[in-house]
């Protein structure tokens, strides 16, 4: 037989549980509706915009290829998505944002970026891809880790090439627009 206290406790627990579910549902619903109405992602609120840019994808956009140069002079595909696999599908977003100086556009940038902004005299005066060399150096160091210092496979330079898409069935007409390179 169940005692009186044992019977009332679950009812109280149930009520509290239902209140928590109501609050959770409301929070999720409001955040989802806001993100949908604004069509904007604001972490952790996601507007589900997967593959929504169909009408906007036209010729003339930029894409990037990262390459390394080995000690033996060979050009190597360094596959950055594998170097920092935690980023996986986000690596191209990192590169696009770094080339566009995204980390300088913040309301509260990193102190080093704020100092660089002041030194340059404003965002518009910054060179395109101001932090790209640091990114390339980091990739190069990660790639070289575990490769013997005298190995011909070791990278001596890392390069990022920016291309403008010309359209068509292949990349033959695409134009090289920018290159960043660092010696390791």
């Amino acid at each position: 037989m169940t005692s009186q206290t044992e019977q009332t406790a679950p009812a109280k627990v149930e009520r509290r549980r239902r209140a928590a579910y109501a609050a959770l549902t409301l929070a999720l619903a409001l955040s989802q509706l806001w993100a949908f109405a604004a069509m904007r992602d604001l972490y952790p609120f996601a507007a589900w915009r997967m593959m929504s840019g169909g009408g906007e994808v036209r010729e003339g956009y930029a894409y990037f290829i990262a390459r390394g140069e080995s000690a033996s002079g060979e050009t190597v595909d360094i596959r950055p998505a594998r170097l920092t696999d935690a980023l996986y599908a986000r690596t191209w977003g990192l590169v696009e944002a770094t080339v566009g100086n995204g980390s300088f556009r913040l309301r509260r940038p990193h102190p080093a970026n704020a100092a660089a902004l002041r030194q340059a005299g404003g965002f518009d005066k910054l060179p395109r891809g101001a932090r790209v060399p640091e990114l390339l150096r980091a990739w190069g160091e990660i790639y070289n880790e575990g490769i013997a210092p005298d190995s011909p496979r070791r990278l001596r330079a890392v390069r990022l090439d920016a291309y403008r898409r010309a359209g068509g069935r292949d990349t033959a007409r695409d134009e090289l627009t920018d290159t960043w390179s660092v010696e390791l």
Binding site: A89, R90, W92, H110, L135
Partner: protein, 285 residues
């Protein structure tokens, strides 16, 4: 039990993902590349400085993996589901501070948050085993069923709103024969994606079929809420979803493994358990 299996599944997916990822290399990227957005802006730069080092990232990995391991096993569940949700929320935010806001893991992050508020340690858990024989209060069916329903509804909303956003942002232009080839080629040009498939370029030869294909995908997204109500529709919609997500890997070099894994919330786990019991009973006879 179903809620317990969902807890183990969702936490387990993130646990495997964390264990297979090299956190220390991420810590070698310069902190000056970070672009904190949303709630991540509220955190101080000193925290990012401390975390974005090989040692900091390794510590984050160990803490997250331990918490996820415990929440997968269902041990100290009320605490570990909350720490798992918070740590994964922070880690996923950190990744999006560097790259762009992609949606693969977001549904799983929401699921972890829901589980943090749900009695998901009562069944299919170490906590449940430890409490066995000690007598415990069993909550109503609603308390165990509602979180799963909420998770299903979130997935249905994700697909449904994705279709609406496509139509809102591009209108009828989204059904242009160029949409699919252009989107697919865009993700097949660089060497910054996980995979380097070039099948996208063949799509130009099949432009006559791309409009119906895109229309089919948008229709599937719009119809996905039916999975909440009909078992038969669920089977078709989830089956189509598997084919769709796998095909985007080959055609667009985009894959949503976490999103796909979250289909587990639509599995009738009680039915699976009953079938397993029946199968075991027949084998014992």
């Amino acid at each position: 039990m179903a809620l317990g299996v969902v807890r183990a599944g969702v936490s387990g997916v993130f646990l495997v993902s964390v264990l297979l990822t090299d956190f220390t290399n991420l810590g070698r990227l310069p902190v000056t590349l970070l672009r904190p957005a949303g709630f991540m802006q509220l955190l101080p730069w000193s925290l990012y400085e401390a975390v974005m080092t090989p040692r900091g990232m390794f510590s984050l990995m160990c803490g997250t993996a331990l918490s996820l391991l415990l929440s997968t096993a269902g041990w100290l569940t009320p605490a570990t589901t909350k720490t798992s949700a918070l740590l994964v929320l922070f880690y996923q935010g950190l990744l999006r501070n560097l790259g762009h806001f992609n949606h693969d893991e977001m549904l799983g992050v929401y699921y972890l948050l829901i589980l943090a508020f749900a009695p998901c340690g009562d069944g299919f858990s170490v906590d449940g085993l430890l409490r066995r024989g000690r007598g415990r209060e069993r909550l109503s069916e609603f308390a165990y069923g509602y979180p799963v329903l909420l998770m299903r509804a979130l997935m249905a909303w994700a697909y449904f709103s994705s279709a609406l956003i496509k139509l809102r942002s591009s209108g009828a232009g989204y059904f242009s024969p160029d949409t699919l080839p252009a989107l697919a080629v865009r993700h097949s040009l660089d060497n910054l994606h996980d995979t380097q498939f070039r099948y996208a370029f063949y799509l130009f030869d099949y432009r006559a079929y791309t409009t119906p294909l895109v229309a089919l995908v948008v229709a599937w997204e719009l119809l996905f809420p039916l999975a909440l109500f009909s078992k038969r529709a669920r089977r078709c919609l989830l089956g189509f979803g598997v084919v769709f997500h796998v095909s985007t890997l080959f055609v667009m070099n985009i894959f949503f493994p976490h999103f796909l894994a979250m289909y587990l919330v639509f599995v009738d786990w009680r039915g699976v358990a009953a079938r397993l019991r029946g199968w075991r009973g027949r084998r014992d006879v």
